[in-house]
Amino acid sequence: MTRLIPSEHELHAYIDDRLDPVRRAEVQAWLVANPQEAARVEAWRNDARRLRAALAGFGEVPGPAQLDLRQVQRRLHQRRQRRLASAAALLLALGLGGLGGWQARQATLFAGLLPMEDAVQAHRLFAGGTALDVQASDLVQLQDWLTRHFDRVGQLPDLSGYGLRPVGARLLSNEEGAAALLVFQDGRGERVSLFLRSPGERYGPMPSGQRTDGGLEARYWSHGAYNFALVSGADDARGEAVRRALGVSL
C-alpha cells in the first residue's frame, strides 16, 4: 500500500466521496495515522453535515405558488407568438405611466386564454378600487371620455333603471391597442364593468357568449368596431338585461 500523503484536494474529495475506492482506503488509513489532519477533515465534514441539516426544507414554497410545467409551457408558447405585440403593449403601458401602466401590463399578460379573459382581469384589478383615470358620476361625462378615446363607439345607455350609476373609467392597453374599462355601481356598492377594445388579429370579432369565472360572469359580444364584455357578479340578476341594453345602444 502506497502511503503517499494525500493532497488538500484529495482530502476534500474524500469528504465528498469522490475518490476511487482504492485511494479512498489509502486516505482513510493515512488519516488514522494522522489524527490532527483527521480532526481537520472531520470538522469540514461536520460543517457540510450541519449545512445540509440547516438547509433541509429551506426554499420550500409556502402556499400554492407552485410552478406548473404545463402552464409554463403554454405561456411560453403564447409568449413566442406575441413577443412583438407585447413590446408594443409595454410601450403603451409605459406611456400610460406609473403603476397603473404596469398593472395594465399585468392584465394583458393574462389575456388570451379565454374569451375576454382580459376583461375579467381588468375588472378584478380596477373595478373595485379607486385607481381610475376619470371619476365620472354622470353619463355625459363618461360618454365624452369614451368618445375621445374610441371614436367609433355608440352611445352609452342610461343604466339607472337598473340602479347603476357611472363611477369612472380607465384606459388600458393590450397587445393590439387601447382598451377601456367603464365602471358602474349600484346603491349597495355592487359594481359592474363594461370593457371594450378593438378586435385585431388575435381577438377577431367573436360570437356572443358568456362564461363564469371565479364568481364573475362575463358576457361578451362584438359590435361595429369593437369587442365588448360586461363583467358582473355571477349572481347579479341584472346581468342579462344590462347586457341587452348595452348591446342595443352601443
Partner: protein, 171 residues
C-alpha cells in the same frame, strides 16, 4: 423534464429555489430566477437530459441567468447613479429572518456568493466536481481551490476567529 412525477418535480423546484435564494437573498428575485430557469429549460428541452444530469443542467441555467441578472443590475445601478440616484439596498427580508434564526446559516451567509454557490452544489446538492464546474462555468482546478478556501473560511467563521483574508494561505 416531462417524465418527472409531481413529487420529483416539486422536490426539484425546491432545490432550485433554495439555490436561487442563496444567490439572490430575496425571495421575490429567487422566484423570478427559478421561473426563468424553468422557462429557459423548457424552451430548450430538445436538448435531451437524463434524470440524473437534469438537475446539474438546471443549476447551470439558473446560475447563468443569475450572473446575467447581476450584470444587468450593475448596469442599472450605473444608470441610476448617472441620474443622481443612489442604489437601493436590497433588503432580502424573508431569507434574512431565516438566516438570523440559525447560527449555522448566519455563518454560511457571510461567505462570498461564489463560495456559497459552490458549497451548495457540492455539499448540499451532491453534484460532482465536474458538474459543479460546468454549472459555475469555471475550470475544475478552480472548483477545487475555491472549495478548499470556502471550507476553510466556513471553519474559521464557525470557530469565531476569522482570519484576515490577506493573511490566508493561497492555494
Amino acid at each position: 423534464m416531462h417524465d418527472l412525477d409531481e413529487q420529483q418535480w416539486r422536490e426539484l423546484l425546491q432545490r432550485l429555489r433554495r439555490f436561487a435564494l442563496w444567490l439572490c437573498r430575496d425571495s421575490g428575485s429567487a422566484d423570478d430566477l427559478v421561473q426563468a430557469t424553468v422557462e429557459r429549460a423548457l424552451s430548450r428541452s430538445h436538448q435531451r437530459h437524463e434524470a440524473a444530469d437534469l438537475r446539474a443542467w438546471l443549476f447551470t441555467i439558473l446560475y447563468r441567468l443569475f450572473l446575467d441578472a447581476k450584470r444587468r443590475e450593475r448596469l442599472h445601478a450605473r444608470w441610476l447613479a448617472w441620474f443622481g440616484r443612489s442604489q437601493e439596498e436590497a433588503s432580502g427580508g424573508e431569507t434574512e429572518s431565516i438566516v438570523q434564526a440559525q447560527a449555522d446559516l448566519q455563518v454560511f451567509a457571510r461567505l462570498s456568493t461564489e463560495q456559497r454557490a459552490l458549497l451548495l452544489l457540492v455539499s448540499v446538492e451532491g453534484l460532482s466536481y465536474k458538474e459543479a464546474a460546468q454549472a459555475l462555468d469555471i475550470p475544475i482546478g478552480t472548483v477545487m481551490s475555491r472549495l478548499s478556501r470556502a471550507r476553510a473560511t466556513l471553519r474559521d467563521l464557525t470557530e469565531g476567529n476569522p482570519a484576515p483574508p490577506a493573511l490566508r494561505r493561497l492555494k
